[in-house]
């Protein structure tokens, strides 16, 4: 077929344009987060002293500062990465915000807590639940964001998928943090991190496999 003939067909299909990709990403992430949120409320729910902790415990509040400092930059990046002409460059450094905050919090915790309690704080009460629940709650947002990226045209499918995985873990961790009884930054560093790394790896693999266009 000649290219001019192909253009005839493309022009005839001019009215088939889909909604802007940024809107698709926003809706998909919203739906994914909503599904996980409902699942979370149905299966676990926020912890009993949630309201009290929000005003009295700096450690508890920090958990949300940390998870949102991951989720929000990851969302903004994913929205960009869905476009072929987006060049992340230095913007990828936004993802260093959460690790940097965590590092500062760990140092403060080590200074303010006697060394004989470090180990107990890190192990916490419910590490297994954290390891299982964060990946599970990540699933709906991950599928949703991969769907949206599939509608897009990511220049680098593996990176787009990986940041999608980070975003899904950030959403799941934000939900789980409101249930989890362990508030120490040492606990977050040990256990939340594992779920996040796992979801990032899954996202990268799925991205390189399913996001080519």
């Amino acid at each position: 077929m000649k290219t001019d003939d192909l253009i005839n067909a493309l022009a005839a299909d001019a009215k088939s344009v889909e909604p802007p990709i940024a809107r698709t990403v926003a809706i998909a992430v919203g739906v994914g987060a909503l599904i996980s949120g409902l699942l979370f409320l149905w299966a676990l729910g926020v912890r009993d002293n949630f309201a009290e902790s929000m005003v009295s415990s700096l450690r508890f509040v920090f958990k949300f500062v940390l998870t949102l400092s991951l989720a929000i930059p990851a969302y903004v990046l994913v929205r960009g990465l869905s476009r072929p002409d987006f060049e992340p460059g230095k913007k990828l450094w936004w993802l260093a915000l959460a690790p940097a905050l965590l590092l500062v919090a760990i140092l403060l915790e080590l200074v303010s807590v006697p060394p004989d309690q470090w180990h107990a704080r890190m192990i916490g009460q419910n590490a297994m639940a954290c390891l299982i629940v964060i990946p599970l709650l990540s699933l709906a947002p991950l599928v949703a964001v991969l769907y949206a990226l599939h509608q897009g045209a990511p220049a680098n499918p593996a990176i787009a998928g990986a940041v999608g995985g980070l975003l899904s873990a950030g959403i799941a961790a934000t939900l789980y943090a409101s249930h989890c009884p362990d508030d120490s930054p040492l606990f977050l560093a040990a256990w939340y991190t594992i779920g996040t790394v796992v979801m990032t790896a899954i996202g990268a693999l799925a991205g390189s496999r399913f996001l080519r266009w």
Partner: protein, 185 residues
Amino acid sequence: MDRKARDAEWTDLMRSAIAGDQAAYRRLLSELSPVLRGVVRRGFAGVGVPREDVEDVVQDALLAIHLKRHTWDQTMSLGPWVMAIVRNKMIDDLRRRGRRPEVPVDLSEFEFEGEDQQASIDAHDVERVLGRLSGKNRDIVQSISIDGQSARDVAQRLGMSEVAVRVALHRSLKALADTYQEKKL
């Protein structure tokens, strides 16, 4: 016309096209295709890619521009987006040939000079894929593309609604793009 003015014109045409202006869209694609041909040929210079293979990449890029145009941010200019698409398709093509995917297309400083004004030639890939479509879908695509009929004419001839013809056309174009994908697996 210098590069900036041309990019501004393309940007306007694509905005109109996305708003539903078919004539603007046709003009844009017609202006883009020789530029794409020039970019692909220069990018592949020295790689020894046959002429009809260059045209395959041009057609693959046009299909991607069409099916992914909702990923263009309308507040930005169109040129860098188009170059990102064609660059991606060139890299895919080189990968398929088992070569190192290094394409010298600088997205920030894309050039329109040296474009190829020769008329387009036949490319194999789309032709091959057309053969895989169902009889009716193949008929629709061929009537509209090669014979230049309107969707309404084709609808009347086949006893279908115009909407059904448009839907079939859109699905067939997606199938064409997917077949390029299959080749990569």
